[in-house]
Symmetry: C2
Subunit: 293 residues, 2 copies
Amino acid sequence: MTREHIESTFRTIQDEICSGLEQLDGKAFFQEDNWQRDGGGGGRTRVISHGTLLEKGGVNFSAVHGELPAALKKEFGADNVQFFATGVSIVLHPVNPWVPIIHMNIRYFEMSSGESWFGGGIDLTPHYVRPQQADLFHQQMKNVCDRFNTEYYPKFSKWADDYFLIRHRNETRGIGGIFFDHLKPESESHKQSIFDFVCAVGRTFVPAYAEQVALNRNLPYGEREVKWQHLRRGRYVEFNLVYDRGTKFGLETNGRIESILMSLPETASWLYNYQPEPGSEEEKTLKYLQKVR
Amino acid sequence: MTREHIESTFRTIQDEICSGLEQLDGKAFFQEDNWQRDGGGGGRTRVISHGTLLEKGGVNFSAVHGELPAALKKEFGADNVQFFATGVSIVLHPVNPWVPIIHMNIRYFEMSSGESWFGGGIDLTPHYVRPQQADLFHQQMKNVCDRFNTEYYPKFSKWADDYFLIRHRNETRGIGGIFFDHLKPESESHKQSIFDFVCAVGRTFVPAYAEQVALNRNLPYGEREVKWQHLRRGRYVEFNLVYDRGTKFGLETNGRIESILMSLPETASWLYNYQPEPGSEEEKTLKYLQKVR
């Protein structure tokens, strides 16, 4: 399988997802920015805002290549190596606080030394955790994994729990999902099978989110729920700026800043030492996220 | 000079500053939280909110000691060493967008191996840069420096420009000020003189800010200025979570999270690829902050 084929399939997946999300939103449309990377390659950033469903969301495609950035030379213990990387990366911040924030990423990395691997995942960040809806989401993640390898879901859902952790608060970012990295093909047929899995993850994104949206988008909300939503978005900002590998990598390698930080919400809030009322929905959510998973 | 003397003077400076800021605000009062650190020592966090002048502000005092945290062992190349650290740290987010955000920190660090040093600084982050007011602020910083050493201001203001830089945007956080670290005494009298300088910096904070406040607190503002204020606060969040050494150190050493993150604003905002109108006050500010300093 050629990198051109992977790149063009990822581009198609971006198209499919944007079209699916526009239908789901019903009002707003994506705006597109094409950009070039100084060292080689570029991307197609698409942003939607002020929709009926989505307050701010980004679906980014990129395919970049060139000399391995200094930050990666160290990590990979490689020098004098050319790289190629392509991926689709998504974060959606909905209007209604009952609708969860969602994140998806699929990526492929290749080095001129011959190594290549895939990575990706989907995770859900409800402002208010509903355990039944969390189970439903996990079931969907399990379904897509099981179609390829029954060892994937147990491994990748644990990986998500470990990765999407706001360490300084001992809180998970949300209810998890799946996360995987460095899936290295051992043969051409193995590469095809991992690629098929990664594409299936990408194509599971819209239907999985649509289900969460359908369950929550018509629930009424007021000031109280919006205040809580903004506080939870504050936590999202903390995770992305302090821990998220993609964000850190982008900042360290002089990526296109507006594409990297399109994951941040339009509005976020921090209150000193805020403690939700005992017994409230807000407290239940906090306890759920703080439990040792 | 004993560490007890430094600690108690810093505590007094916290008292003086809180009292000065309450007078300046005229409505809100500081709430105090005393906390203990697991490894030794603790602190006195004071937070003010929803005042006439200050929307959210924190004035934190701490004096901690114990075994050197792992993160510092590496940095200092030291092992089996006890440390003592005390300091006062402040960030104020005003209500009126014409009034600047301000930050101040003074600190003292001591190791059982015998080394000790002081650090600190004050820097100003106007949402709207007014060059004349920036010059006034710098003049005040120069005045306090010159009373002790005429080499301080040129060195420490450059240090602030280098330190308070949002690298991924190539924007300074604000108009700078002074920043210094690792001022190591070479004798007891030298220690006294550095300590006097550090205390003078602490005691310059309220009058310097009062002047900025007086010039701006009664200026009218509307939705447009508040929107810009929230965007600039977003930049402040980016700096503090990605680059600020004190924040990173606190997060890595399991400090009291609410005291570390009290520097974050109540509300911050991110818009995708926002470009201020050509010729507007917002664009002038951006250009000022983006210029190579």
